[in-house]
Symmetry: C2
Subunit: 189 residues, 2 copies
Amino acid sequence: MTSGAARSARGTERRAEILRAALEVIAERGYRGASLAAVAERVALTPQGLLHHFPTKEALLVAVLAERDQWDAVPGTGWPLDLLGQLVEYNAMRPGIVQTFSALLGESVTEGHPAREFFTERYEAVRANMTQVLRTEYGERLPSGLTPERAAPLLVAVMDGLQYQWLLAPESVDMPAAFRDFLTLLGEG
Amino acid sequence: MTSGAARSARGTERRAEILRAALEVIAERGYRGASLAAVAERVALTPQGLLHHFPTKEALLVAVLAERDQWDAVPGTGWPLDLLGQLVEYNAMRPGIVQTFSALLGESVTEGHPAREFFTERYEAVRANMTQVLRTEYGERLPSGLTPERAAPLLVAVMDGLQYQWLLAPESVDMPAAFRDFLTLLGEG
């Protein structure tokens, strides 16, 4: 390994360590508590040292969400639709990251927000993935007559919209049960 | 009219005037451009004078959203479900207010945000209203077998979730058409 490659490998490792720490801080303290200072402390960096890797809080949080997407990714045609219900159940056990996602998504629709491009590209990719999942499950037409392309934005919208209702009132909104109701609705027609 | 009542009537009128001005500023400049200073200028108040009516930008924007809810309200059992499709079409013509709503909803799920209580109460009321609308349309069971109570959070989630996708990519997401697809889905089973 050249010294340049070694330096770059160390940088990648350091970055992964920072993202894990940020995820922990988010889980424990939520979106507002996820300050650069709190994350820096956990990885024994100075705030200045952390800024070298992530110049702003938004940049760090977007990197955390991108990393989560990688882990949660629905790999093309591979997933059965039913596993999405399990993903929603899993999300209901990690309110910190769902809160961070939902807060950043909200901010991203304002003019010139640093997370706007991430979310715009993410949603294009997620709609394409969900289209594939629906096609694998139902072929070219769902029982209702909708094409997978037209059902995909609805599937994504229900997941996101339920997250807001659940974050605001976790006692009254059973997010996983509501999402399963939607899957049932999709499968009938 | 006592002088106290006259003062209070003038205050109410002034407040309504400020809310109309804020709605105009939101429509023209979006969420970030909707500063207290911009609104104050439009109603010929000093920023200090405006603070007398609304102490923060969030308080002003929440009041604008509450006012919009009053105008858009689905009065109990009165509305047919189909009119919701028209409401979504109308929303697609006013991106500024939809953006403001979506941005504030996003922020409201964070700890101690000033709009949190407004949104928590709003969603409880909106779910109850939508339950009524669905009951008027379908009785105690939708064609899919879902009760109106269980379908209502899905209806609300689709409306909100589609707004984010549409705000991020208005060219690729046809919000009113997608929402009509969902209404079709609800009506089948």
